[in-house]
């Protein structure tokens, strides 16, 4: 390293220092604190404060409610993100292909995204109403949407997809607008049909933006809380209880701060692992391109 490079490096670190300090204060410190809490029995109501070692983690390893929450979180994340990406792209294509009323459609799309999750949940509570709900009326059935252990999680996924699909659609739509018309025309001149054009021209160009949308949506879905908390409270039989809901119950209702923190640490580790995997995937893609 030349002296000049060394000086540059030093200056770079100096300029990074404030960012690192702020990150340290707002994420590393609380994170370390939660990790420390998770190694303790800490129950303020009972004045309990003693070291527990890894006993909370050991309990979680054999805790069916915890594993059920892990499973629910995984199924919820995989199904809601997949549906959001597929439907989001379809909506973006429809929007881009529309000649009239594009602004209106766009605004309506954003409405669902702008709504707070709690409001969405209340709305869907009515749609899913067993006797008076719109959904059962349309289906001509009397499905027990929120009370049947086989239907409750799909119902929650559907509500989440409705709410967050616009996010994917808007991103994909913006990218679609930036695709030069010549590219599509060239493909068509070469004899590509609509499906082939989409597969070989549009989709590859959407790839990066979809990867970023998937990253955001996955990290959100892994921490999903309010939609199931309001809609089902985690029931029936715990079938819609995600890890975050379980952590909330441990922290704010059972008031077991140590135990609740242990669940929180697991959520954190999960989110970090997935984020790391995504970033690896994205950078591998970049170096290939």
């Amino acid at each position: 390293m030349t002296p000049r490079e060394r000086a540059d490096r030093r200056r770079g670190l100096l300029l990074l220092a404030p960012t690192l300090a702020i990150l340290g204060v707002v994420t590393v410190y609380p994170g370390a604190w939660v990790l420390w809490l998770s190694l303790q029995h800490r129950i303020p109501v009972f004045g309990v404060e003693r070291f527990a070692g890894v006993s909370h983690y050991a309990f979680l390893a054999g805790d069916p409610r915890f594993w059920s929450a892990v499973w629910t979180t995984a199924v919820f994340t995989a199904s809601s993100v997949t549906l959001e990406l597929v439907l989001g792209v379809l909506v973006a294509l429809a929007l881009a292909g529309q000649r009239r009323g594009r602004h209106l459609a766009f605004s309506l799309l954003l409405l669902a995204w702008a709504m707070p999750a709690v409001v969405t949940a209340k709305l869907f509570e009515w749609l899913y109403h067993p006797a008076a709900g719109l959904l059962n009326f349309l289906l001509g059935a009397r499905l027990n949407w929120l009370g049947d252990p086989g239907l409750a999680l799909p119902a929650v996924v559907l509500a989440d997809v409705w709410r967050t699909l616009p996010f994917v659609a808007v991103l994909a739509y913006a990218r679609l607008l930036a695709i030069p018309a010549e590219l599509v025309e060239a493909a068509q001149v070469d004899g590509a049909g609509r499906a082939a054009t989409f597969r070989h021209v549009t989709l590859p160009l959407l790839r990066r933006i979809l990867a970023i949308a998937a990253l955001f949506r996955t990290l959100d879905a892994l921490r999903a809380f309010d939609i199931m908390f309001v809609l089902t409270g985690g029931g029936p039989a715990g079938t819609t209880e995600t890890l975050t809901v379980y952590a909330y119950r441990g922290l704010f209702q059972m008031l077991q701060l140590g135990f609740g923190s242990a669940v929180g640490v697991v959520v954190f580790a999960l989110v970090m692992t997935v984020a790391w995997a995504y970033v690896r995937l994205l950078s591998a893609e970049e170096s290939r391109a």
């Binding site: 069916p64 067993p130 006797a131 029936p236 008031l255």
Partner: protein
């Protein structure tokens, strides 16, 4: 808020002298503000602002600021936990769900009122509400309003088919079958109750346990002290759904979902709280004048009893004005305020005498009947670990109701989990 004018100061000093020991003016002599945290009050006419102005008029130099809590009980509890763990909570008087009193007392968040309560002061309240305000032999709150689980029935339908309100669960199931067969209306459900995975389901399970002659907590703190009877009670609830006495959507039903279906005339029986009565009897209600009230049935080895609920008023231990806060609590739980709340806000009083008050009975002829049902009600377990207990049990019991777990399995699993948490509380 601007500074105090000399005239205002003089007025304050005079009023402080007049009010005597009741007011405790700080040395800086500014007006004292008491902050009262409570859930939003529903009802035809909210008497609350008027009551607070009345209190202020009687206590010059004191202002009461009432602040609403979040909507749901879960969020209210979270709000208190977060704010009371710090040293200055920012409020003086707080509305408490009865099930939180022992927990908050144990945590040291409530002012111990034992030495401030006058002898005989609590004699005017329902004994079960006083029991819920007392923990570890000391008094932590004043009973404010009350609830009890009741059985609503369609008087017209029962009369038409020659039935009396059922005294046993077997009779209720039998009446449901016969009335539905005779009516031939596929939209008419039998018995509605709350089986969603939440606190309300725990209340329904408790009532089933009592009807089966057992309880949730034994005297020594054992969970499900009689597992065989508990299994029978859970099996009974499951069968209500499995045999169609209750609709399948009972597993998603909370108070409002079940209340609406009954209010629309789509059910014969409903288990719910007294607030429902005012809505069922409101002008425009489809079942107005066709509803009857009865105690919850029993007869499966035990006497039927409704679970009591409601809210208390407690004082934050960190308050700077304990005497004034207590004066406010006394005023709001006093006869005058409870009467106004009963008349305007559909909140049922904790003072027994008001249920026979001629003016109130004229507005709500059901009061004497509800009095008897309240008196027969039983509190949920009074323990600082109540929420821990309830939160742990909810998914297990819900699994029984939807048929995913056997009663015995659920009881074993719930006990195992509770052992871990209750052990770490010690």
């Amino acid at each position: 808020m601007g500074g105090l004018s000399p005239g205002g100061l003089a007025l304050l000093l005079v009023s402080a002298l007049l009010a005597g020991g009741c007011t405790e003016l700080a040395p800086h002599a500014g007006p004292i503000t008491l902050v009262l945290k409570h859930a939003r009050i529903l009802g035809p006419a909210d008497p609350f602002p008027g009551l607070l102005r009345e209190f202020e008029a009687a206590h010059p130099g004191v202002r009461v600021r009432s602040e609403s809590l979040p909507w749901s009980s879960d969020e209210q509890h979270q709000f208190y936990v977060v704010n009371l763990e710090g040293q200055s909570p920012g409020f003086d008087v707080m509305m408490l769900d009865v099930i939180w009193v022992p927990e908050f007392a144990r945590a040291g968040w409530l002012l111990d009122l034992t030495d401030r309560v006058r002898p005989q002061e609590f004699a005017a309240y329902f004994p079960s509400t006083v029991a819920a305000a007392t923990w570890s032999g000391r008094v932590w709150a004043f009973p404010w309003n009350m609830n009890v689980g009741l059985l609503y029935y369609r008087r017209d339908l029962l009369a038409k088919h020659g039935f009396q309100p059922p005294v046993t669960w077997a009779a209720l199931a039998d009446q449901v079958r016969r009335i539905r067969a005779a009516e031939g209306d596929p939209t008419l459900e039998g018995y509605l109750w709350q089986g969603k995975q939440y606190e309300g389901m725990i209340v329904n399970v408790l009532e089933a346990l009592w009807a089966h002659g057992t309880g949730l907590l034994g005297d020594d703190g054992t969970v499900f002290p009689e597992p065989e009877r508990a299994a029978a009670a859970l099996g009974f609830l499951r069968r209500l759904i499995a045999t169609g006495v209750s609709p399948s959507w009972t597993t998603a039903a909370d108070e409002e979902l079940s209340r609406r279906a009954f209010g629309d005339g789509h059910a014969i029986f409903l288990r719910n709280w007294p607030y429902v009565l005012n809505l069922l009897e409101a002008p425009g209600s489809r079942v107005r004048g066709r509803v009857g009230l009865a105690p919850l049935p029993g007869g499966v080895g035990g006497v039927g009893a409704g679970s009591t609920g409601g809210s208390h008023l407690g004082i934050a231990r960190g308050t700077a004005h304990p005497d004034l806060a207590l004066a406010l609590v006394r005023f709001l739980t006093g006869e005058r305020a409870e009467r106004a709340m009963a008349a305007g806000a559909a909140l049922y009083p904790t003072r027994t005498a008001l249920y026979h008050d001629p003016a109130l009975v004229a507005g709500n002829p059901w009061l004497p009947r509800i009095h008897d049902l309240m008196l027969a009600g039983r509190p949920r377990p009074v323990t600082p670990s109540y929420l821990l207990l309830s939160t742990t049990l909810q998914p297990e019991l819900s699994a029984v109701l939807v048929g995913l777990k056997s009663e015995r399995r659920a009881i074993i699993d719930a006990r195992r989990r509770l052992d871990y948490f209750l052990a770490s509380n010690r």
